[in-house]
Each structure stands twice: as C-alpha cells, then as structure tokens.
C-alpha cells in the first residue's frame, strides 16, 4: 500500500514538473517563434491589436527590404569574415601557445601564463579607450583587420588549451621525440588530434562570441560598409528606422538564425564542452 502511495506521488510530481518546465520552455522559446513568424507579416499586421501569431498574408518583402533599402549582404559578409578569421586564429594561436605553456620549457613562461590569468577577467570596456587610440595610430580604425586583430588570440583560449594539453601524458610526447619527431610535428600530429574536444569547444565559443560581439565593432566601425550585423541592427533600432518594425524583425532573424542553426546542430558538443570548461 505504501509503495502505491509513493508511486502516485511520483506521478503527481512528474506531471507538475513537466507543466512547470513546459511553461518555462514556452517563455524561453516564445519570443523567437514570434520574431520568426512576425518577420513574414506586413507592417500593418505587426502593429495590429489584438496581435496575431501566424501571419495572415505571408510576405517576404521585409527580407527584400534588407537588401534594397539597407545593405545587409555587406553586414553579413563582414560578420562572417570577422567571425571565421577570429575563430581560425584563436584555434591556431591558442593551441600553439597552450602547448608551449603546458609542455615546453622556456624563459618567461610563468610570467606569460600569469599575465594570461590576470587578464581573463578584464571587462572589455576597460581597454576600449587605449585600444581605440592604438588602432587609430596603426590606421586600423574602420577596417576589418581592426575588428579582428584585438580578438585574434585571446587569453581565455590559451587558458583552456593549456589546461587541456597539460593533461596529455608526457610519455606520449617523449615517445614521439625519441622517434625523432620535431616539436612542430608533435604539435600537429600528436597534440592537436588529442585536443579535438577542446578545439571544438573553443571554436564554437569563439565563433559565437565574435558573431555576437558588439562593443568593439560599435566603436571601431564608423562607416556602414564596415558594420557587422549586430552594429547595423542596433544603430537602425535606435536611429531613424526605429519604428520600422518589419525591417527590424527581419534583421533580427538574419542575426539570430545562423547561430541558432549551428547551435541546434552542434548542441551536444556544445553543452558538454561548456560544462567541462565550467568545471575545470
């Protein structure tokens, strides 16, 4: 009898949990669903009271406007170039430096690692002024290179790779050395293949951070042809287009959708990678 009671309590708990978590899920996903559906509505329907969920007359005009009235292909290309180059740079430079910091003896190693640790938590707003002054002295303001270089090799990436490579057994590397392999070859053919999970995590995190990065591109890109997607969207949202709901919603979809697709496809690596990064 008492086991029956426990079972029925379990059933109630199950139902309550599913309802609560389900409501929460609707609250999390609802705004995205509304954004996507409304981006296919005409201006009048977007503003209508009471609001609609499904578009009555499906229109692609909002997306057309992104091309005709604004220069979204340029912003998209800028965002993609910046994110891809930043990601590749971090994978390469951070894994190489991580290897050196974890496994190779060289003078100044502790100082370098100390500086990496010391700057991981520095808020980006702290360095924005000197970074802008430096960029303008180097002629990097309002260039794509200027958007990329400050993020091309980040402290967090080195920390992540160093921690991961540190756990690779030394015997493995020694064996390769005895076989006469050069350090470059060991790095490329022994260390990197073993680092795939860490590289996947670093690659995903860097790509996302770069795609969504806002403050530095806002400061460093001064003409429209150098805007990234978030900068263009934000400046339209607060400027003279601030009430063009149709345009802004379609623009938001273009900013969000590529990332959502990547995330849903890679979500398993994602969640695992973030969890292990967090627990280290």
């Amino acid at each position: 009898m008492s086991s029956d009671r426990i079972r029925s309590r379990d059933v109630v708990a199950r139902v309550v949990l599913h309802v609560l978590l389900g409501l929460g899920l609707v609250a999390m996903v609802g705004p995205f669903v509304w954004m996507l559906l409304s981006s296919f509505k005409g201006e009048g329907e977007i503003r209508r009271v009471p609001m609609t969920w499904l578009p009555e007359d499906v229109t692609f005009a909002n997306y057309g406007d992104l091309f005709e009235r604004l220069d979204f292909p340029t912003y998209f290309t800028n965002s993609a170039v910046v994110a891809v180059v930043t990601t590749v740079g971090n994978l390469l430079f951070c894994s190489a430096a991580g290897y050196a910091l974890a496994k190779l003896p060289f003078p100044g190693k502790r100082v370098l690692f100390g500086m990496v640790l010391g700057t991981i938590m520095v808020p980006s707003i702290v360095t924005i002024v000197p970074l802008f002054v430096l960029s303008s002295n180097l002629g990097l303001v309002n260039t794509l290179a200027g958007l990329i270089l400050p993020f091309l090799a980040q402290a967090f990436g080195v920390f992540l790779m160093r921690q991961f490579i540190f756990s690779i057994p030394n015997d493995l590397l020694e064996a390769a050395r005895i076989d006469g392999a050069s350090e470059l070859r060991i790095y490329w053919q022994v260390v990197l293949p073993l680092c795939k999970p860490a590289l996947a995590t670093l690659g995903i995190l860097t790509f996302l951070a770069s795609w969504n990065n806002f403050l530095w591109p806002l400061v460093a890109a001064s003409t429209e042809d150098k805007y990234t997607l978030p900068v263009a969207l934000a400046l339209y949202a607060i400027g003279q287009n601030r009430t063009d709901y149709d345009l802004l919603l379609a623009g938001s979809v273009v900013v969000v959708l590529p990332v959502l697709v990547v995330f849903v496809l890679l979500q398993r690596h994602f969640v695992r990678g973030i969890a292990t990064t967090g627990l280290k």
């Binding site: 379990d10 199950r14 978590l21 929460g24 609250a27 999390m28 705004p31 954004m35 409304s38 009271v49 609001m51 430079f93 190489a96 430096a97 050196a100 190779l104 003896p105 060289f106 100044g108 190693k109 500086m115 700057t119 938590m121 520095v122 808020p123 707003i125 702290v126 360095t127 924005i128 002024v129 000197p130 802008f132 002054v133 430096l134 400050p150 091309l152 402290a155 790095y187 996302l208 969504n212 806002f214 403050l215 400061v219 978030p230 969207l233 934000a234 949202a237 607060i238 709901y245 802004l248 938001s252 900013v255 990332v259 959502l260 995330f263 969640v271 973030i274 969890a275 967090g278 627990l279």
Partner: protein
Amino acid sequence: MPARSGTLARAVTGWAFALPFAALFLVFTAGPVVASLAMSVTDIRSADLLDPLGVNVVAFDNYARLFADPKFVQAAVNTAVFVVVGVPLTMALALLVALGLNSGLVRFRTLFRVGYYLPVVTSIVAISVVWRFLLQPDSGLFNELLGLVGIDGPSWLDDRPFALPTLIVMAAWRNLGFAMVIFLAGLQAIPKDLYEAATIDGARTLARLRYLTVPMLRPTMLFVAVITTIGYVQFFEEPFVMTQGGPLDSTLSLAYHTYNQFGFGNYGYASAMGYVLFVVVVLLSIAWFRLLRNTHEQ
C-alpha cells in the same frame, strides 16, 4: 656544450610556439590594460591624438571628478541594483530548472536543455530589438497577456519604476540557460550513493537539498556566480538598444556611461571609469570566493 645549445634550442622552440599569441596579446590586451591605467591619471581627450604633447598628468583628478558626477553615481547605483538583484535571481531560476531536469522524473531532457539554452547563444542586440516589441505598451505581447486577466500593463520601458526591473528580468531570462547547464554538470558529479545513504538515514527531499545538494554544489555555484557577476557588471547592450539609458537615466549603466564619455572624447575620464569597473569586478569575485568557498577546505 651540447647540453647548453640543447637548452637554447628548446627555449627558442618554446617561444616560437608562444610568440604569435604573445605578440598579439601584449599589443592588444596586456598593453591596453596598462595604458588604460596610465591614461586614467591624465587629461587626455580625443583632440590630443593629433597632439600628444598637450596631455597633462592630473593624478587622481579623474577619479575625484567621478564621484562628484551625479550621472556616474546614478549609473553606479543602477549597475549595483542590476547585479545585486539580477545575479541571485538568475542563479535561483537556473538552479530550480536544473534540479527539475536532474530529478529523474522528466522526459525530453534534451529538448528542455536546448530550449532553455537558446537565448544564451543569440545576439543580445537582436533579443533587445525583439523584446522592445513584446514590451510595447499598447500592442505588445506582454500587455495583451496581462489584459487577458484584466490587468492594464504599464509602459514597461518608459515608466521610471519599471524600466530597470524589466531589464533585470530580461537578463535573467537570457542568462539562466548558461547557469543551468553548469548546474546540471555539477549535479551529475554528485555521487548517487550519497543520496541513497541520506535517504536511508531518513533525510527527506528538502533536507537532502539543503544539507547535501547545496553544499556539494558550492564550487559550481562559485563559478556560476563569478561568471554571471562579471557579465552583469558590464551590462550595456540592453539599455543601449531598448532605453538609451532612460527614462531619466534610470537604466544608465557604468559601461554605458563609460561608452558615452568615450564618445564625447573624454578619454582620461572614461579610462578612470573603466578602471573603477575593473576594480569592482575583482572585488566582487573575491567576495563571492569568500562567501562560497568550501568551508571544509579552509
């Protein structure tokens, strides 16, 4: 001799691997961190870029001016409220969701996990644009839903008492997925035997939560608290897109004020403000560490 050249060769190899990172890092990260401190004790303005000799050292004048600047004080208070309310709110919601998903009673766990994590990966700018529409006083989704139960919702972003709380709730909505994933990993790392032992000893659900789960989660909580705090101290995009710091500076944040001062060309002043923000981040991290460090490891 061979030994010495071997050491040299290894040093060269080590530096060769570290150099591309080290060079970029020194120029674009470590250098600016130091330069920012140096600039914060000068009166450098944007016009001085063409005439570096016009810069004067003014010692701590910028810092003294900061605390006499009513906008700075307002921004500091707003940021403090955002952090003090937002971080615990985000963590509590995330922990509840994680406990629910970890209870062993829930199906479709991947679906829930992906759904709750969705806002974390998306651009804050896009989210802010969408939420601005949802929060419209007359045609937005929120007030329509409230209207269904007979409540006449306010103008969320234009009414002074509502603007900052609205941004806090939005931040919790956006960030709880990150904390949830870390909490889930932390929960799964707690050995199952401990729960069995506690149950056999007669500990009920709440007692197990209080005396077993929460203490075992301390390191995880510390990590989540520090990361969330660092993020929240810098909040900028939401007010930039949704309120432009208004109404009446009630959503002006420290990072936003710093950005504005930079925009006005007050480089020394902006650097000083940025450094204050940095110090606050470090102090808060230390505070979390003292509060949440594992008492058994003292």
